[in-house]
């Protein structure tokens, strides 16, 4: 259990203790202890249990929420309910003198007030959650399961993506099946989703050089950049290791390629700093996109997507080799320094020439 938030609520904690202590002293001063034979232990057990459970609820509220209005309301509501339960519980041990029976009549009063406050608090909590959900867009869709979060990047893991993918595929297939007679082209454009893989190149090298912790920080930053470049309905998850996956509903390949290009460009411009050093580490990523073809299941789709990634990486590797080749050729022949400043088409021609050589 993470008790970090507890320290923010010292004040509320003191209030709770004071409330319990004052209720206890007050009742014990007024009443006299019952004789042992008169105590109904069945009642003690039941009412004691309820009292304890409300206390546990207060505890969980305090350790899970940062301080603020909603927390205060929740706390007040629960504490009032708790006081009612506590009075009821102490009742079992104490006998109040004749002129103080008013205590038993008002003992149930705090509970309804507390519950009313709790209800208001829950409504506020709902509003709060709505605003948090908008913050969570691009990282969560319709379903929440904290056990599927990847702790390094804060995104959901591949497992979450797989359930979302299954859901998306079922949707796509159903609608396709039902509206089979409708205009096919229109549907295809409406209902295909596209997947994108983003892989950081030379991540192992970075890890070896700067250590795993820095590697994790880099992953987190890159995850943020990917999120910044996505549209509201897209969902990004960490796939595995240095690989991210993005689900883009109602998107065709062309749009997805554009977004992929944007992401590639922004990551290239991230000047990552290791610790306090000022040296910038620039990262390059490989990305590929694939639209759902309407037939396969989620595992086969992922398989195909990864096959694409493999080809993309091979191509990039070849290009890199050619580039290096060009550079060495250029260095060898001093006269060839004209290559600098050539446009891509010319460069490609030049490259081909070099390869033939």
């Amino acid at each position: 259990m993470n008790l970090d938030l507890f320290s923010f609520h010292r004040y509320l904690f003191i209030v709770l203790l004071l409330a319990i202590a004052s209720v206890a002293t007050f009742t014990f001063q007024l009443g006299e202890l019952k004789e042992y034979a008169n105590i109904d232990f069945f009642d003690v057990l039941g009412e004691g249990g309820i009292t304890l459970i409300t206390l546990v609820w207060v505890f969980f509220i305090l350790i899970s929420r940062p301080s603020g209005k909603v927390t205060n309301l929740l706390f007040t509501g629960l504490t009032l309910t708790h006081i009612s339960m506590l009075l009821d519980f102490l009742d079992e041990f104490l006998l109040y003198p004749e002129d103080n029976t008013w205590l038993t009549t008002i003992e149930s009063l705090p509970a309804p007030i507390g519950m009313l406050i709790m209800s208001i608090a829950l409504y506020q909590w709902h509003l709060e959650q709505v605003s948090i959900n908008t913050q969570l867009r691009k990282t969560e869709r319709y379903y929440r399961d904290h056990s599927l979060t990847d702790f390094v990047t804060g995104l959901y893991s591949a497992k979450y993506m797989k359930t979302q993918l299954q859901r998306e595929i079922v949707n796509a297939k159903n609608v396709n099946f039902n509206d089979y007679n409708l205009d096919k082209n229109a549907q295809k454009q409406m209902l295909t989703f596209t997947l994108m893989l983003i892989d950081i190149r030379q991540f192992d090298q970075f890890n070896r050089k700067h250590g795993d912790n820095q590697g994790n920080i880099l992953l987190r930053e890159i995850a943020q950049i990917i999120l910044m470049n996505l549209r509201d309905n897209d969902l990004a998850c960490r796939y595995a290791s240095d690989c991210f996956i993005v689900l883009m509903p109602n998107t065709d390949t062309k749009t997805a390629e554009q977004v992929a290009h944007h992401i590639e460009k922004s990551i290239e411009h991230l000047a990552f700093k290791v610790g306090s050093s000022t040296t910038a580490n620039y990262q390059h990523v490989a990305s590929c996109v694939m639209s759902f073809n309407g037939k396969e299941d989620h595992l086969t789709t992922l398989e195909q997507l990864n096959e694409r990634m493999r080809i993309t990486k091979q191509r990039l590797h070849q290009q890199q080799l050619i580039k290096e080749d060009v550079i060495t050729q250029r260095d060898n022949a001093a006269t060839q320094n004209t290559i600098i400043g050539l446009d891509p088409v010319q460069l490609k021609q030049q490259t081909n020439k070099c390869m033939v050589n």
């Binding site: 497992k159 290791s241 595992l299 992922l302």
Partner: protein, 359 residues
Amino acid sequence: MKTFDRDDDVILCRQFVVALVDLAKQSGVHPDRVLKGTQCFYSDLTMSNTLISTKEFLTIIDNAVKLTKRDDLSFILGRKYFSSQLGALSQALLNCKNIAHMIKLCQLFQFQLFPFLFFTLIKSRRNNEIKTHLLLNSAIGSLTDNQERFLYEFVLSACTGALKYRFGESIPVTIRLPYETVEHIEQYHVNIGSKPYFNQPLAMLSIDDKWLYHSIDDCSLSLKKLAITEVKNNQKNKVYIGFTQAVCQFIHSNLTYNTCKSCSATTDISLQSCAQYFSVSPATLKRKLAQHHTNFQQLLDKMRRQHAVFAIIENQQSNECIASSLKFNDIPNFRRAFKRWTGLTPSAFRENEQYSLLT
């Protein structure tokens, strides 16, 4: 050659345990909980030469996987294994001229490298394409599904990691794994690259000889020699292999010996002859194998199964050929045995194999 049992303290904590415990710590699991059930404490890990037994290491694996609930532990450990955990040996490995040399080194220093699994090297030729196969088997007896998966994932990502490091790109290898398709398939996609075939009757890594002898730039033979001498000095004649591995190798050498020379001069493979080979009594052999959660018949069946399956999928041998090489008296007998090993008759298995390669 000396052998070690499951209870012998032969595993260097520095090499295997520390990284695993650190990873678990990263995910918020206290080191003592990972080390629970072993005689090793977190403070022991800082000492340079703490040894634990393979049994304890398996417990640590179980603990770590269960407590962290992460499925990428084995891959993370594997990926950086060659470059960071092996000291002089990694120097030697990363200065090899080609993959064939690397494999040779792995064979020579298997104990330092990875005492849990061992591999048998087999070549096959089909349509003028020569392939090299590394048949992987447990060196420490039966493993649970989780342990088996962890160790194979570790080895595979270590291999691909090393190759990627040397070549700059991934090399095409065919991977067959003896367990069911895993749920965390994405880890295989990203960390291993090549598509693995799950649920196979053997664990095997196949690579084209074209790649095996593809020379790697940037290697220094003198550095390699230096590193090897250093490793040899360090190990001081300590060459151990797992006891199960020794038994498997005994069975394997006798299986293949018979097929090569076709004379029946050698002894048949039995518990008695094996015990004789290790100069222990049959009862002791039985007891030792039981410690490894296995028995002689199980190992014998496993080796024969692998021989038969390999002959079918890589050499395309006929039933007659395989049956005679495995010394079955008649074909029906062989077919029955094959069905017992794999759940399929040889012909059904062939069809299945062709189908799975096409898809």
